[in-house]
Amino acid sequence: MTTWPLLTWIILLPWLGALLLASLPHTRPGVIRGLALAYSLSTLVLGAIAWTRFDPAAGYQFVERHAWVPSLNITYHLGLDGVSLLLVLLTGLVAPAALLASWNLSRNPRLFALLFLFLQGSALGVFLALDFFHWFIFWELSLVPAYFLIKLWGGPGATRAAYQFVIYTIGGSAFMLAGFAAVYTVSGTLDFTVLAHLGEAGTLAERLGPTGMTVVFLGVLLGLAVKVPLFPFHTWLPAAYAEAPTGASMFLTGVMSKMGVYGFIRILFPIFPAELTAAAPVLLWLALGGVVLGAFAAMAQTDLKRMIAYSSVNHVSYCLLALFAVAGATSSNPAADTAAMGGALLQMFNHGLSASALFFCIGILEVRAGGRRGLGDFGGVRTAAPIFAGLCGIALFSSLGLPGLNGFVGEFLIFRGVFGHAPWAAAVGCLGLFATAYFLLTFWQKVFHGPAAGAGVCFRDLTVFEIVTLLPAIALMFVLGVWPQALMSFVNPWVTAWLASLP
């Protein structure tokens, strides 16, 4: 068992599923869906196995390292640490739920499932690869299925949204690729662990020269900033999330928005520490811009999907706020550092749960209302559909950071950490908390309360199938709200070790 390449299997199984579906052209949709779900669930199962065997005190585990292109010093290098484990588990939870949410998709379910599994495997590759060469391949490959998922199954503006999403992201990635090409020419390696050592020791900066290092840093930063997205590189997001079909929206917000943050943690911090510290004051403002303007822009939306999309900008910006507060720390405050980083990681996981649950709920509203999903298209849904109202309400309150549910712990730790380094940023960030409560309660009030109106008349409550789709996320919101130690047991040791590894 020790030689069993667990991580390779984690990435490969969804891809094998996709391959299998590709080779079954004339199968009944039910079988297709079942197979897709099974292959998608493999991530959760293998992730759980990894979790049980995971040693929080150790660094990278289940490492696979093989020479791949020896002449170019490129290795096939996979490894799992605390942050990867967190994101693998998140993917394992969100992906099957997203497939279940797309269960009744009638138009070409085979192609949908195929592309989806392809996307899932690529995202997992990003979280597990430790060599820039195939990390970047996974990074770019994920765009292909995402593009088609949005374009082929999306709303009326899907083509434009998909184009903008892919072109924008590839545009950013191109700079990152160019940056790494420069890094490769001076270092001769693309291995993250080796590069981290070089970055920490300042060797890279020495070889690239100050200007070169800055240019390379900015290129990599741009690639990541577009992906997260960091304000003001976020304008592709509302359209892409809103036009995508429900399942794809869930995966985009639940998992893909974490890829960028992951890149900051895995690449920018270890390899470009000095440059990041220098840029942090500006970046902190940008993250605050995302927190505040994202929330206020959400308030102005009447399309529910766009509203939650902006809310994602706001929530992911909290993670970045924490990262930049730590990066830009002018004085030593280890307690604030650990709180901010731990909070950022929890926030990634919690946002994945709550935002994907909300997109699922909006998907239900949309289907029941025959494609309408405006804030004013509903009224009094709670009267007709109390179960739906209850579960959606829990997801809403989780998203607005109600204590007792998961969202609060991450946000509290982030604010605690940010306050330790930049109290004014924490104070301004509170505006985002306020605005979030405001628009989420407006959502809840307009859709669920008041007399039955619009599509809220004769609204059918959730089916058992839909409850089963939503319930795991809702249950976890409670569990992680009351017992965050479940995640902190491996997140906190990782944070401590990671902070110690930074110069």
Partner: protein
């Protein structure tokens, strides 16, 4: 029997379990949901009494049981339970009043289709409120603080199909959240400065001397002590939750909720949580400061309390909805409690909190009994003449009214209000709160007389009032018990034997009957003022009772403009809508436009620019470079076409050409070829 502090969590856990059961009970399981909720509350009451006996065994001690919530850095984030007399008295009050209100709800909510949900939410509220009380950590307190806000939100909007209820629920949540963000910032600051959020932790807690002295010793820019800044931020939370000026606007709207909810949450317990919070962190608020520090957090508390006490009482004078009169009265009384905290007597504040909880819950339930009997008629102009029809309700309501008005000696409100006025009189910073408090005494007696006269006396002024009859025992028995409390409780803290205050403060009890009329002049003054208020109310409303709903209010006749301002609640709602509301909407609009047009426009421009350069490139390729090749090609092709025309594929044609050529050649040879 005593309850060890390690098991203190059972007190909130019982209602929480009931809420869990209630949430899973289908609509039909009415009896189950109600029975479980009431049984859990009764159990919590018993436990709270046991906790009180353990706390009173050593009133000066703070018993704690701390535990790790999750790992953080090298240590852990710790929470804990705290048992001291403050906790214990609060827990007993909340469980007892809560239990009575639960029982009352059995009758009041009998007809409601969402009966099970109601008890589920009530239990959730009780759990959160009790958790708030037993918390030994500002973080745990904050968690429960937000959860009581959630329960309040759910219960204000219980009749969610009414748009006004849905809007009131949202307003309550958002308004209190503004204050809560201050509390959050204060908590973050406290955590960052002290490294802990536990109140008591064997010397390392934030309310213990070592931490307090470092906090008070640091001064910020502007000369403010760190402890003052943190204290003021924490006070923001109390302003929001306890309906203090300027965030009180949500509380009257919260009356959209069912009346038992108004009694429990928006009168007796949750709104008093702000007072409790300040009493809990009183060591921080009152930390000894260096002499040159300009401002003390408690000074702000005192003035905010005074403003609120006066403003609430003034607005209450001009309200016509029975619940809104009581709501503004609650605002005013909470102002009194804050005033007491501010002037340095936190024990008097808690004393008033406890007595107020009984008589205000009594008044609200009495109002509920009236509303229930009068088929949801809440306008006092349309009531009247209920006294003979609802004798128990009238009698108990009158007791509550006298307790609130501060009728001397027999009623609890008198003693607790007296304690506050006494403390305010002795405050060495300013006498303004004291005089404001005196003014509010007159107003309170006045508007309560008006309320009772309009509601219960005279002739019924609507069919609903004419046909009202007494509520069932399940509603009147709780009224009776609360009325008993509204009388007896005052004797726990008379100046002669201030047992309650001494237990709370953990100081030895000095009882001396000679002190009963201590500060006799002050007491006499306030008795005269109460009398004046009652007399004035009687003069205006009792002497000539209203005959018809449409009669103008005597005050409207005397001073229409003043009454208009008061009835309009000083137009604060309008002011906020015009300022904060507009600003909010404008910010949202700006953020959206910035995105769509400025940033989105820039991206669009970049995209267009890319397309444009692509097009330019294509033009260049096509017209400049390829065009040359094309022209050559075209020439070649043209000549090819022309040549190909000759190749028709017809043998006759070829032969014809051949023949013609032969003839021509032959002629040429013949003509010119003779050489």
């Amino acid at each position: 029997m005593r309850l060890p502090v390690e098991y203190l969590w059972l007190i909130p856990a019982l209602p929480l379990a009931a809420a869990g059961v209630g949430s899973l009970t289908p609509r039909g399981g009415r009896a189950l949901a109600a029975d479980v909720a009431i049984a859990a509350m009764a159990g919590a009451f018993v436990l709270a009494c046991l906790a009180l006996t353990s706390a009173l065994a050593d009133p000066a001690a703070h018993q704690v049981a701390n535990f790790a919530w999750f790992d953080l850095g090298g240590g852990a984030l710790r929470l804990g339970w705290l048992l001291d007399p403050l906790t214990a008295f609060m827990a007993v009050m909340v469980t007892f009043v809560g239990l009575l209100i639960f029982i009352f709800s059995l009758g009041y909510m009998k007809e409601d289709p969402n009966f099970t949900r109601f008890f589920c939410f009530l239990s959730l509220f009780a759990a959160a409120m009790l958790g708030l009380i037993v918390a030994n950590s500002l973080l745990l307190l904050f968690v429960c603080w937000e959860l009581v806000g959630l329960a309040s939100y759910l219960l204000i909007g219980f009749w969610f199909h009414k748009p006004s209820a849905a809007a009131a629920a949202k307003k309550a949540f958002i308004t209190t959240r503004i204050g809560d963000l201050g509390l959050l910032l204060g908590m973050l600051w406290l955590y960052d400065a002290s490294g802990s959020l536990l109140f008591y932790d064997g010397g390392a807690g934030v309310l213990e001397a070592p931490v307090l002295s470092t906090l008070a010793g640091q001064t910020l820019a502007g000369g403010l002590a760190l402890s003052t800044a943190i204290g003021l931020l924490i006070f923001c939370g109390a302003i929001g939750k306890s309906g203090q000026f300027p965030l009180h606007v949500w509380l009257p709207d919260a009356m959209e909720g069912p009346t038992p909810v108004s009694a429990l949450i928006h009168a007796a317990t949750m709104v008093a949580a702000g007072v409790f919070l300040i009493a809990r962190v009183y060591p921080l608020m009152s930390a000894d400061l260096p002499l040159d520090v300009p401002m003390h957090a408690l000074t702000v508390v005192a003035f905010v309390g005074a403003i609120t006490a006066l403003m609430g009482a003034l607005i209450a004078v001009a309200q016509n909805d029975i619940k809104r009169v009581l709501a503004y009265s609650t605002v005013s009384q909470l102002g009194y409690m804050m005033l007491a905290l501010g002037v340095g007597s936190w024990t008097a504040a808690i004393f008033h909190l406890l007595t107020h909880a009984f008589f205000k819950a009594l008044l609200f339930l009495g109002a509920g009994s009236v509303i229930h009997a009068a088929h949801h008629e809440q306008d006092i102009r349309n009531l009247g003449g209920l006294a003979p029809r609802m004798k128990v309700t009238f009698a108990t309501f009158a007791i509550g009214m006298m307790a609130l008005a501060g009728v001397p000696f027999l009623f609890s409100g008198f003693w607790s209000k007296e304690a506050i006025l006494h403390a305010a009189h002795g405050w060495d910073v300013s006498q303004v709160p004291f005089y404001v408090g005196l003014a509010a005494v007159v107003l309170t007696a006045f508007y309560m007389t008006r309320l009772v006269a309009e509601t219960f006396l005279g002739r019924p002024r609507s069919d609903a009032a004419a046909h009202a009859h007494e509520s069932p025992a399940v509603m009147t028995v709780p009224l009776g018990l609360l009325a008993a409390g509204a009388v007896v409780l005052g004797f726990l803290g008379t100046p002669a034997c201030p047992w309650l205050q001494s237990r709370l403060a953990g100081t030895p009890l000095h009882s001396d009957l000679g002190h009963l009329f201590e500060g006799g002049g002050l007491m006499l003054l306030s008795i005269v003022l109460v009398g004046a208020g009652l007399g004035l109310g009687w003069w205006l409303y009792g002497r000539r009772l209203r005959a018809a709903s449409t009669d103008r209010d005597p005050l409207a006749v005397a001073a229409p403009r003043t009454l208009g301002v008061l009835a309009g609640k000083f137009y604060l709602d309008e002011l906020y809508a015009a300022t904060v509301g507009r600003l909010n909407a404008a910010l949202a609009w700006c953020a959206d436009r910035l995105d769509r047009h400025v940033i989105g426009g820039a991206v669009e421009f970049l995209g267009k620019f890319g397309l444009f350069s692509g097009a330019l490139n294509r033009e260049l390729d096509e017209d400049a470079i390829n065009a040359g090749f094309d022209r050559v090609n075209a020439g070649l092709r043209g000549s090819g076409i022309r040549y190909s025309r000759a190749q028709t594929g017809e043998p006759q044609g070829y032969l014809r050409v051949l023949a013609v050529a032969f003839v021509v050649l032959a002629l040429l040879l013949i003509v010119g070829g003779v050489r």
